[in-house]
């Protein structure tokens, strides 16, 4: 029964009283207060009337024929459910027993005879206030429940979108083990891995500030950019630049993403690391069990403008059997019953004392579980085992539209000079161009690898004159890359030329690719001989090129090289 219009506090009152004079008197009293009065002469009538009319308040005589007030009160309270319908018992205060019964039957107050109009008015007012309070509580509870339901639905949708975009990439590869919280979306944890066309693996571990949807919102453009750029063959530095720019643009000031980006190159046996704000990762060398700390050297993503953003990576040589371990904040912050955190010390002890490297990952997992006492839900961890499994030809993922479906007869030449060489990586662009040729698509991996190798040789050994002999050990590695960064930033002369020619060949076609550089050249024959050794860390990767391309020929002076890729009809 809704409240009467105008809601000046006028309600419908049910009066159950078996004495006719008393009933009449009380009814008049209540009506004079402005309320609508319904009368019943016994408990049964009272319950029936209540069910039918749903009054807001009940005045109930205790002793009535047919059904007494206590039973009627019990039934009415049951019918009212979670709504508050106050019941004021009409009784004499002298009877303690009756009072107890009234309370147990659900009575909310008492009114004694003779009826005092002032007291009656006051009690009705007070009970009405309580009733309205309860009604408000229920209304708000229902409102909250509805909103909560909406929020949960939205979060489910967000999670579905998130899962599609931040798909696991190549996290399922045999040499990777990882642990990711099912609540990753809401913790702002991101774990992505994908292969470049030439076979290097890019891995991104990210930790957004904040929780919930705001964190997930930043994750999506990051995942998208990571996957598409990796698939197109962009370098870690270029990807970092793009991610930083995107996040700086999208995230409000004060929000950022701590991240570690890895590039694992099993072919060339090197690891590139960029860590901005995450706890140190570890590289465990199979040779001596020694750990190299991969510490955070940069500000997190999304803090600095791009012109101040430092994309330089640390480079480490890799050997087959080495292991790379990355972990999020959540791992170190796992806590025990007394509030202590797992912390870096415990982790380092674990690493030091581990005598079975193959079980290291599991050992860390167990240690965390033991420490916390139950499964923790906030930690992400990843381990990569450097293996010498050859990576089969990776098809280029379709990101974006191709405009020339089948281009079979053209040539193009490019000369990239010093200023361009300093800041532009031509490989993704060239690869994109070559992927317009349908026949070359199945071999995109090999093609990209060869292009990358030729370009790196031309630039590093040719134009910049770096000596690959440096790359014999870890210290030499660091020195080599230090020199590389330095010479590149100082570069003011030199060029690398690409000549691309696509010609038809019967039902198929051929790519003739030539790369020239402005460097001093090298002794081709000697270098080829030296590269027979399988343990050399550096070198010009000439064996690799010879293996992947259909034909390859170096100019005698070493300043130019020509390679060929062929395909048949139906490719």
């Amino acid at each position: 029964m809704p409240e009467l219009k105008g809601d000046k506090g006028f309600i419908t009152v049910l009066l159950a009283e078996d004495g006719p004079a008393d009933r009449m008197l009380l009814a008049t009293l209540v009506a004079r207060l402005g309320h609508r009065v319904l009368t019943a002469a016994n408990g049964l009538e009272a319950v029936a009337l209540f069910e039918q009319e749903r009054p807001q308040l009940v005045l109930m005589d205790a002793l009535m024929p047919v059904m007494d007030g206590f039973e009627a009160a019990r039934r009415i309270k049951r019918l009212a459910g979670e709504e508050l319908v106050p019941i004021i018992f009409l009784t004499s205060l002298s009877e303690g027993e009756a009072l107890v019964q009234s309370i147990e039957a659900g009575g909310d107050d008492f009114l004694s005879k003779p009826y005092n109009p002032l007291i009656l008015e006051a009690k009705i007012k007070a009970m009405n206030r309580l009733r309205r309070l309860q009604a408000t509580v229920l209304e708000q509870r229902d409102l909250i429940a509805r909103h909560n339901g909406h929020l949960l639905t939205e979060q489910r949708v967000a999670k579905a979108v998130f899962d599609k975009i931040t798909h696991s990439g190549c996290l399922g590869a045999a040499n990777i083990r990882y642990l990711q919280s099912p609540y990753a979306l809401f913790n702002g944890d991101l774990l992505l891995a994908a292969y470049k066309p030439s076979g290097e693996m890019h891995v991104l571990l990210g930790d957004f500030t904040g929780h919930g949807l705001p964190a997930a919102i930043g994750a999506m453009p990051v995942a998208d950019a990571f996957y598409s750029m990796t698939a197109r063959g962009y370098s870690p530095s270029e990807i970092l630049c793009e991610l930083n720019a995107k996040l700086k643009r999208i995230l409000p000031v004060g929000m950022f993403c701590c991240a570690t980006l890895l590039s694992v190159d099993t072919q060339r046996r090197l690891l590139e690391v960029w860590n901005g704000g995450l706890p140190a990762g570890y590289l465990r060398r199979v040779a001596d069990g020694h750990y190299v700390e991969l510490a955070s050297r940069h500000l997190p993503l999304g803090v600095l403008e791009n012109d101040a953003f430092d994309t330089s990576c640390d480079v480490h040589p890799l050997a087959v059997g080495d292991r790379v371990l990355l972990l999020s904040d959540g791992v170190l912050e796992v806590s025990n019953a007394t509030g202590e955190t797992f912390g870096e010390e415990r982790l380092r002890t674990l690493l030091r004392e581990c005598d079975e490297p193959a079980r290291l990952f599991a050992q860390i997992q167990n240690a965390l579980a033991d420490f916390h006492g139950e499964a923790h839900d906030d930690a992400s961890m990843l381990e990569i085992l450097v293996s010498d499994e050859p990576i089969s030809a990776l098809p280029m993922q379709e990101y974006g539209k191709s405009w020339l479906i089948s281009s079979q007869d053209w040539s193009a030449s490019f000369e990239f000079r010093a200023q361009t060489l300093k800041s532009f990586n031509p490989l993704p662009f060239l690869l994109q161009l070559l992927m317009e040729v349908r026949g070359l698509r199945p071999r995109s991996g090999e093609l990209y690898t060869v292009l990358a190798e030729l370009y790196s040789n031309a630039l590093e050994h040719g134009v910049m004159g770096l000596d690959s002999a440096l790359k014999q050990d870890a210290a030499g590695f660091s020195e080599y890359y230090r020199q590389r960064d330095q010479r590149l930033s100082e570069l003011d002369a030199g060029f690398v030329r690409f000549h691309l020619q696509i010609v038809p060949n019967g039902e198929g076609g051929r790519l003739l690719l030539r790369v020239e550089d402005s460097g001093e050249g090298f002794a081709v024959a000697e270098e080829l001989a030296r590269q027979q050794s399988p343990t050399s860390l550096g070198g010009r990767g000439m064996r690799l090129i010879c293996r992947l391309a259909d034909e390859c020929t170096w100019d005698e002076d070493g300043r130019g090289v020509s390679v060929e890729f062929c395909w048949n009809a139906g490719a």
Partner: protein, 119 residues
């Protein structure tokens, strides 16, 4: 008005009921006959519980109507019923009937006075 009817309560009843005042009085008087009948019946059947309940109900009504002596007599019968001691109740019931007769007469003249006063 004496101790049979409480004039303060009667004024209050008049004020509350307004035009309906006589109806209230009539209602009470009619109902009180039924109450006494119930008391007689209970006593006749030596039903202490019924006596107690009937006396309790009537007591409330009487006090609402400003008849304190009548209410008091009801209380005595109620007590007796509660204790299960029905000896002596016959006398008390007769006393009650006599008091009711007095109250009835006084209410009728009240009624008369009210109607005249209104016209």
């Amino acid at each position: 008005m004496s101790e049979h009817l409480d004039s303060a309560i009667l004024s209050s009843l008049q004020e509350i009921m307004g035009e309906e005042y006589p109806v209230l009085l009539d209602t009470f008087l009619a109902d009180s006959e039924e109450r006494v009948r119930l008391l007689r019946e209970a006593l006749g059947q030596s039903d202490a519980q019924a006596l107690r309940q009937a006396a309790h109900s009537f007591k409330g009504s009487c006090s609402n109507m400003g008849a304190p002596l009548l209410a008091g007599l009801c209380r005595l019968l109620e007590e007796a019923g509660r204790r299960g001691q029905l000896d002596g109740c016959e006398a008390q019931l007769e006393h009650l009937e006599r008091e009711l007769a007095i109250v009835r007469i006084m209410f009728r003249s009240e009624r008369q006075r009210f109607v005249i006063g209104r016209s």
